[in-house]
Amino acid sequence: MANDKPNQPQDESRRRFLKYSGTALGGVVLGGVIGGLVGSNLKQTEKETAPEPGKSGTAPENKDYNQALMFFNQDQFLTAEAAAERLFPKDDLGPGAKELGVAFFIDHQMASAFGTNARDYMQPPYYKAEATQGYQLVFKRRELIALGLDAMNQYSNTKYQKPFVEIAPEEQDAVLTAFETDKTEIKDVPSSNFFAMFLNLTLEGAYADPLYGGNRNMAGWKMRNFPGNQMSYTDYIEKEEFVKLEPLSLHDHLELG
């Protein structure tokens, strides 16, 4: 719940919203949403006085049971974590991919409908495509990511006699560059396809709502001064100066039963 946080933007912005909407609540609201929002606003207010449900007796503080694997094996996870950290490293601006939980994000995504291309057209036949025609392989995202991570280790073992996680950062960069530019000479692995997808997943893991396992504590958003998801910017949209807001996540908008 948002209510135990020092800043209560959600509830505030719902109130502000009602003020700005200025719509007569008794009037005909054929298509509008006002009824619904007022409803949830009232519920919210009731809850403010009610005791917090499910707050006591839960997990020990720093343990996140969501940080476990749905798809990767241990090696793949560690390789993904190390590779993502090179693509999006920790620096003086803030955490890198590892601290943000990006590898957990990628693991969870690979276990999801996205990893299995559930909403993509996957019917045969498959032909070689022009670049303008997009992805045309029967191979699924989760298969490509797992294959690519294994191949990075294989490449690293051959070239440096050590797995990817144990080589120096500059060497890791060299491996990544080889994959990015299809210079691995590992046959049977579409390296640059793998790399492009992995890079994309890394950025998603840094910046998606924390509910997906990455962007831990919204630290990705904080680095960019991205306010997450607020109810309303009506008060700020005309402002000349930059407005810094504590970000909110979808968790903050959930009414727990």
Binding site: S13, F17, Y20, A24, G27, V28, V29, L30, G31, G32, I34, G36, L37, S40, R86, F88, P89, D91, L93, G96, N117, R119, D120, Y121, M122, Q123, P125, Y127, A129, E130, T132, Q133, G134, Y135, Q136, L176, E180, L199, L203, E204, A206, Y207, A208, D209, G220, W221, R224, G228, N229, M231, S232, Y233, T234, Y236, I237, E238, K239, F242, L250, H253
Partner: protein, 573 residues
């Protein structure tokens, strides 16, 4: 065997903007309507947790499930078309309200020039100005004739905009329903720069409400909160005009709308002269039904509109080799790619904030508002600065030459995330004899029916347009007080991978010639008088604008045509 249902006066295929408007107008007039929609029902409550970039913007939660049906694509007739396996260039609507739920709400009436593009081009520059294979034509309706229908849409949706508009766009008989959107600092910079250069900027007319509004049907809606999750998202406030919060509740309230969800239409039944109804599959049960009707209305967006005609063998398919037939002709798109980014080292903007239709634009280089005598292209682009809400996954601003990953990349994206304003052109797309839609010979949908096949590419016309418009965007951006600017001024082949816009047009075009157009100016089919087809599929070309204002006006026009036809029968022209 399909179960045959009792006959009804009107059946509509698709419940997006077009289906919703027509259903609302007809049911208000006391006519019973069956609305068939292949997707699920939706309402505003579904969007309380919609501020999720990954789910809605990157994973396309609200769009058509491509595993069931997609489009196949090739650049030229020599290539083999392959299915669009995953989303890219455009995003298709599915479910109650269609793409109207997740649109931006940028609202532009097409220019008077658009409707008479052929005559006006020949009049000013001579026939020779039109390059070989460019199949521009007059629409069979003028701006003046369509004007009252624009007004209807604007009052229904509560379109927000300025009262004083530049002289280089179509005249309005009635001002917009609500005042303009608020102006962000970026919009002010753009407008000041444009004015300094002698251009005519105005706030983009918006279907995100600028103030509380009650429309003529009694629908009351709340104003936009500039929440920044608009394009690709549903609006949790009902502030964005969409069919679910405007026309559909009105139709439902009449008791005359029989709305059937999960109903995928697969066939128009006809005897060669008239339609007798449609066949559809109720997807949760797999049951097949035929719905007999006096009038069949296609409102399923252009891919469905064209595909159903071809699958049902209704109308004459277009043949690009012989340049004969009509169904599938004049597929066009939108020519984006001309833009200039202004970088600001000395200040930051609130770019996460915004609304789908927030921005300012000029039409000084749109339509025929400038002299094309010495230019190698026709038409032009609306040039704009928009502030739609920039989100961190899909927006990674870097100056040219920045590495694509690693420490430098991270620093640059974070540094620039609130420091770049972009001025961009939304270019018109001229039709070409070899750009068209037909049935794919190989690939099928989940019901075993052929996919629609698109053959489309960018031509010299488009590359020249982008080059020219890009210079204009730079001219403006250079005046906006940034530290430096970067221009983007070239496009190559059309590529289906990067998102460009969901402004696909043509295929069932309107016109005055029954041989080369599919519908007359009441959107009544030439080859079957009780079939009406409406949507951007009616556009013979696409303007330098978003399409829905003109789609909406045509939907009101269709509703009037249907009522006329019910009264009198026969061809309406």
């Amino acid at each position: 065997m399909a179960t045959k249902l009792p006959k009804v006066p009107v059946v509509i295929v698709g419940m997006g903007w077009v289906g919703g408007i027509i259903a609302s107008e007809l049911t208000k007039a006391g006519i019973s309507v069956v609305g068939l929609e292949r997707g699920k029902s939706r309402d505003t409550q579904d969007y309380y947790h919609v501020h999720d970039e990954l789910r809605y913007a990157s994973r396309y939660e609200l769009m058509q499930d491509l595993s069931k049906e997609t489009v196949s694509f090739r650049n030229t007739m020599k290539m083999r078309a392959l299915p669009m396996r995953t989303y890219g260039s455009f995003l298709l609507g599915e479910g109650l309200g269609g793409a109207g739920v997740h649109w931006n709400g940028q609202y532009y009436r097409f220019l008077p020039y658009d409707f008479e593009i052929y005559s006006k081009t020949v009049e000013r520059y001579g026939k020779k100005k039109i390059p070989e294979n460019m199949t521009i034509r007059d629409w069979g309706i003028t701006y003046e004739e369509l004007e009252p229908y624009f007004v209807k849409y604007e009052q229904m949706a509560g379109i927000s905009g300025e009262t004083e508009l530049p002289p280089n766009i179509g005249k309005m008989s009635k001002p917009f329903a609500t005042g303009p959107m608020k102006k962000s600092p970026g919009m002010k910079l753009f407008e000041d720069a444009a004015k300094k250069l002698g251009y005519h900027p105005y706030v983009i007319p918006s279907a995100n409400l600028s103030e509380p509004y009650k429309n003529p049907d009694g629908v009351e809606r709340a104003p936009c909160q500039y929440c920044g999750y608009c394009e690709r998202f549903g609006c949790e406030y009902g502030a964005k005009a969409d069919p679910v919060v405007t026309v559909l509740p009105v139709a439902k309230q009449t008791g005359k709308l029989d709305l059937r969800m999960h109903s995928n239409v697969t066939q128009i039944i006809h005897d060669g002269k008239k339609a007798t109804g449609v066949t559809y599959v109720h997807t949760p049960t797999g049951e097949e039904y035929t719905q007999p009707a006096d009038i069949v209305i296609l409102a399923g967006y252009l891919f469905t509109n064209v595909r159903l005609l071809l699958l049902s063998k209704l109308g004459k398919p277009y043949n690009p080799e012989t340049d004969t037939g009509a169904v599938g002709r004049n597929y066009a798109y939108q020519v984006n790619g001309a833009s200039t980014s202004a970088f600001y080292e000395d200040r930051e903007f609130n770019l996460a904030m915004g609304a789908g239709a927030l921005g300012s634009s000029i039409d000084d280089f749109n339509g025929d508002n400038f002299d094309h005598s010495d230019l190698k292209f026709l038409h032009g682009a609306n040039i704009r600065f928009t502030q739609t809400g920039l989100r961190p996954i899909q927006y990674q601003p870097v100056p040219a030459g920045t590495p694509k990953w690693g420490a430098e990349f991270k620093k640059a994206t974070i540094h620039n995330s609130n420091r770049v304003l972009s001025v961009a052109g939304q270019g018109a797309s001229m039709p070409n004899r070899y750009h068209y839609l037909d049935l794919d010979p190989e690939y099928k949908d989940a019901f075993g029916q052929p996919l629609i096949r698109m053959t489309f590419d960018f031509e010299d016309q488009d590359r020249e347009l982008v080059k020219f418009i890009a210079q204009k965007t730079k001219e403006i951006a250079d005046q906006m007080g940034g530290t430096k600017t970067e221009i983007h001024d070239s496009i190559k082949q059309y590529n289906i991978v990067p998102y460009q816009s969901t402004h696909n047009t043509g295929g069932t075009i309107m016109g005055s010639d029954p041989k080369t157009s599919v519908v007359n100016n009441y959107l009544q089919m030439w080859d079957a008088e009780n079939v009406f087809i409406c949507g951007a599929s009616n556009f013979p070309h696409n303007s330098g604008y978003n399409p829905t204002a003109t789609v909406g006006a045509l939907a009101y026009r269709t509703a009037e045509g249907v009522q006329k036809y019910l009264d009198k029968g026969g061809s309406l022209v």
